[in-house]
């Protein structure tokens, strides 16, 4: 039997199918999908258990309790830091968001193997949905933190309205890291244990337990090369203690301040580029 047949005309609106990509398939669908998957994952994480959402609060609170007792009561650290307990709690909630989102993302693509191998959709939805899930948890936790702040006597201030300015870059740098981690994990499974170690190291290297002003002179600048450190430092000034110096001052003005900004942009751009390059092959490599 011949395989040569008459060729029929293809409608001029026909689209070329170019295979999977990080984005692609329409922005509307991309946004809806990220929202639905992120929200669903959030509901499944907390609504399936008896205490529900409380669990997402219990974890940072427990960590806070332990660290507070160890540092404030046993090591007697933090006496010279104004409002140390609330600063510690806020830092923990913010940093937990970063590690929670990135840790969810690492395995996210592999865990959604069925979808990746059987459906066409913008691949970047998967890590972004994981970040969204963590963001929803963060927002609810922040409500608790602010109640705690008011209870502690840290009054509401106009600077509190700047919170989104702090959260937006935090979510962006988290998304960048998540994209890098999730796409690398498809090929290199060592990424998971490496990330576990790295995130612990980052926890102590970032000014979570201590304010950046407690770092010996000359090292603050090095610590602030990490954009998360800058965000935490600025958060302290705007939210907890207006007398504390801002990140811009601590790092020492303009030429130096460009470094964390460059690191921040590099992580975001690298995340997009790495994921975009990996996206067409993810389905085959699973």
């Amino acid at each position: 039997m011949s395989t040569q047949e008459t060729l029929f005309e293809l409608s001029p609106e026909a689209k070329e199918i170019r295979g999977p990509s990080a984005f692609g398939g329409g922005w509307r669908r991309f946004l809806y999908l990220t929202w639905m998957i992120g929200l669903t994952e959030y509901r499944l994480t907390y609504f399936g258990s008896a205490l529900g959402y409380l669990w997402s609060l219990v974890r940072p609170l427990l960590l806070f309790g332990v660290l507070y007792v160890v540092f404030s009561q046993i090591l007697e650290f933090g006496d010279e830091v104004a409002n140390y307990p609330v600063l510690l709690l806020l830092n923990i909630v913010l940093f937990t968001f970063f590690t929670d989102a990135a840790t969810r993302s690492v395995t996210s693509v592999v865990e959604n193997e069925q979808m990746v191998r059987k459906m066409h959709f913008p691949r970047i939805v998967i890590p972004l949905a994981a970040v969204l899930t963590a963001t929803l948890t963060l927002l609810l936790n922040l409500v608790a933190v602010f109640i705690f702040l008011l209870g502690y006597g840290v009054g509401p201030r106009p600077e509190w309205l700047l919170l989104p300015v702090l959260l937006a870059p935090l979510v962006m740098v988290t998304a960048g890291a998540s994209m890098i981690l999730s796409s690398l994990y498809v090929r290199y499974r060592d990424v998971a244990p490496i990330w576990a170690v790295l995130s612990t190291a980052l926890f102590y290297a970032s000014p979570v337990l201590y304010p950046v002003t407690s770092i010996p002179d000359g090292f603050e600048r090095a610590a602030l090369m990490n954009p998360i450190a800058d965000l935490l430092t600025q958060t302290r000034r705007w939210i907890v203690d207006p007398s504390a110096p801002g990140a811009f001052d601590v790092i020492g003005g303009l030429p130096w301040a460009l470094i964390p900004i460059a690191v921040f942009l590099a992580i975001c751009v690298l995340g997009l580029v790495v994921f975009d390059r990996q996206a067409p092959k993810i389905a085959e490599q699973l």
Binding site: S2, L10, S11, P20, R28, M119
Partner: protein
């Protein structure tokens, strides 16, 4: 009926997988051997595949395991990126290639319907708006609050099917759908296929199930080792598929030889009416069972028996040279016999084996070959049994009961 415009146009599509010998390469290995390339096997899964699917056509893609049919479907769906060649598609394409992809077992039907709708490109509000229709079609009104993991597999597929029917997609790509479900459910699936086809949706179906292809598809394609082996009429494609399936197995399973050695059954085969050796015979077509026999010793009052058996060793049909009136006193040493049995094919669909034996005047068997050849019968109209008798069916309905 399919239109006159192409909905899918695939030109010279090739896809090669580079599969590392040891799949997961760790960073440690990379660090220790930075210049060693991972050893890879190249699998040429698709080679220069070209095809067109017409607007509103039900198009079947068949092929054996590893022939590349699922890879082709994934390239069409945009899940894999082709190496070379082009794919152009006109019309909205359903994004998934299997039913129920993206179902979350921990969610209720409602949540799953909404998420699936969003995956298909609806807004959450639109997806919610279609919920009632989807549930009604799937007949799942009584199970709305049940998590999907508590659904039976049949209920899950019903939901998935219903979503597919209620999607806006003009073109559906489907990979092996009917693996689950009981007979009643499968019947419902078939009804859905008929409905989709009559609605004029373009459907590309990948399946092993040849009767499905012959029943539904306007046209079909057969892939073999990543190449287009046949394209066009579903019946012809189905026949080629069966041929491929059996001609590659030169060894017939369960073949055995015995006898006293007075003769050797050299060869047994099936021929069509034109003298071509064939592995498959269409129902209703004349065919021949032929055997060559070398005689080594004098065999008095010989009789050659030929019988057809099934996989389950059921004896379906037997005949002998004596039946044909050939009753010689003896076969002499050095003789070569060619036995030819011409028959009309009234067998039902399935695989049959040929047993041949040379009997020596009622006192023993000079040579026996069990399962000396095999062939496949296809195209029988009724799905009856071992034989499909030529028949007609009529029903008379009388208003008055006969006393």
């Amino acid at each position: 009926m399919p239109g006159r415009h192409a909905a899918v146009d695939v030109r010279d599509l090739s896809k090669t997988f580079r599969v590392p010998r040891q799949h997961i390469m760790t960073l440690k290995e990379r660090a220790l051997h930075p210049f060693r390339r991972a050893q890879v096997d190249e699998l040429h899964v698709l080679r220069d595949v070209s095809l067109q699917v017409l607007d509103g056509e039900f198009f079947g893609i068949a092929g054996r395991n590893g022939s590349g049919k699922s890879t082709l479907l994934k390239c069409l769906a945009g899940i894999y990126k082709a190496d070379t060649g082009s794919i152009r598609i006109a019309g909205r394409l359903a994004p998934f290639i299997e039913l129920g992809v993206g179902f979350n077992p921990d969610l209720t039907a409602h949540d799953n319907v909404v998420i699936n709708g969003v995956m298909m490109g609806l807004s959450p509000a639109q997806a919610r708006g279609r919920f009632d229709d989807v549930i009604a079609f799937a007949e799942l009104e009584d199970f709305l609050d049940l998590k999907l993991k508590n659904y039976s597999s049949g209920m899950q597929v019903r939901l998935a099917f219903s979503l597919m029917v209620h999607s806006d997609a003009e073109m559906l790509l489907i990979d092996e759908v009917l693996a689950v479900g009981d007979a009643a459910f499968q019947q419902k699936c078939l009804d859905v296929f008929y409905a989709l086809r009559d609605e004029g949706r373009t459907i590309v179906l990948v399946t092993h199930d040849m009767p499905m292809i012959e029943r539904f598809c306007h046209r079909a394609m057969l892939l073999e080792n990543g190449r287009v082996e046949a394209l066009g009429d579903p019946q012809a494609v189905g026949r080629r598929y069966l041929e491929l399936n059996f001609e590659s197995r030169a060894e017939v399973p369960g073949a055995k030889t015995s006898g006293t050695g007075g003769a050797t059954i050299a060869d047994v085969w099936i021929e069509d009416d034109e003298g071509q050796r064939v592995p498959a015979v269409a129902h209703g077509q004349p065919f021949h069972v032929r055997a060559t026999i070398d005689v080594h010793e004098r065999i008095e009052h010989p009789d050659v028996h030929v019988s057809l058996t099934t996989d389950a060793a059921v004896h379906v049909f037997g005949t002998a040279t004596s039946v044909g009136g050939d009753k010689p006193d003896a076969y002499e040493p050095g003789e070569r016999l060619v036995v030819d049995i011409a028959a009309d094919n009234q067998l039902g669909d399935g695989r049959y084996f040929v047993d041949v034996s040379v009997h020596r005047g009622g006192i023993g068997v000079a040579a026996f070959r069990g399962r000396a050849a095999q062939f496949v019968v296809f195209g029988a109209k009724a799905e009856t049994g071992l034989v499909a008798l030529p028949h007609t069916v009529t029903v008379e309905r009388e208003l008055e009961r006969v006393p």
